[in-house]
């Protein structure tokens, strides 16, 4: 009886997560990042007179640099709390996870701290990316032949 009452009071005071608002914010943030990405590709390919694929590689490096720098300066975490998946799904989330795990374990030393923990969060992306790419690549190689 007491537990039920407690749960009812607790559920009344729980912070109301507005799912629709979160979704709209994630959509707009991701959209703006995609827009900047396309703009940077055009800008680099015009500015340095290189091909589109080279320009897109430079664009990815730019995004990784900015995300790592902001994480190291300490305010990317606040941005992630506010914009959530809008910043985690683009490549900025990958750089953010690597830099934040390196910063978190820095006090344990260069080898045991940074060296062993830098891939703590990003490792799952690389592991499952490689395994699935190998698996689907085998399927494509044996069924359709390589393109």
């Amino acid at each position: 009886m007491k537990n039920i009452k407690y749960e009812r009071i607790a559920s009344n005071h729980k912070a109301e997560e507005n799912r629709v608002k979160n979704a709209v914010i994630a959509f707009l943030t991701g959209g703006v990042l995609g827009f900047i990405a396309e703009w940077l590709v055009v800008f680099y390919s015009n500015c340095f007179e290189i091909s589109r694929s080279d320009a897109s590689t430079m664009m990815i490096v730019t995004f990784i640099f900015i995300a790592s720098l902001f994480t190291a300066l300490g305010f990317f975490d606040k941005l992630v709390n506010r914009f959530k998946c809008g910043l985690l799904i683009p490549i900025t989330g990958f750089a953010h996870s690597m830099t934040s795990s390196a910063m978190d374990y820095k006090k344990e030393g260069l080898i045991y701290g940074i060296g062993m923990n830098i891939f703590k969060l990003a490792g799952c992306v690389i592991l499952y990316g490689v395994v699935s790419a190998w698996f689907f690549g085998m399927i494509r190689y044996f069924i359709g032949g390589a393109s």
Partner: protein
């Protein structure tokens, strides 16, 4: 038109991720892993190449493009090397992104002091 498509596509992926995050118990780690696998799957029959042609830079920035470039480099290498090319070409296209992430995060972790 590419700008508009980039906005829509990248925003749409983030929207799906946010909906999964809010309505299930999966963590962001689960979702990014899932999106990488989806990217690799879409490129198995060159669907993702078609999307990149239509969308442009907006399709290269989400984490799905990481899975796409892994399998794309592997399949490109099979043309010259045969079966073993899947192993040789796996990191051909993603090498820049991974190297940049490692170098920048190491340097910034050395320079800056962690907050709290």
């Amino acid at each position: 038109m590419l700008y508009f498509n980039s906005f829509l596509f990248c925003g749409f992926l983030c929207l799906i991720a946010q909906l999964i995050l809010d309505n299930s118990k999966l963590t962001p780690g689960h979702i990014t892993s899932l999106f990488v696998v989806i990217g690799a799957f879409l490129d198995t029959f060159s669907i993702y190449d078609f999307i990149i042609k239509k969308v442009g830079g907006g399709a290269l920035i989400p984490i799905t493009s990481f899975g796409h470039s892994l399998i794309h480099g592997a399949l490109a290498k099979t043309n010259s090397m045969g079966f073993i090319g899947i192993f040789m070409g796996m990191f051909d296209l993603t090498a820049t992104g991974i190297t940049a992430a490692i170098i920048f995060s190491f340097i910034f972790a050395l320079i800056f002091k962690p907050r709290n």
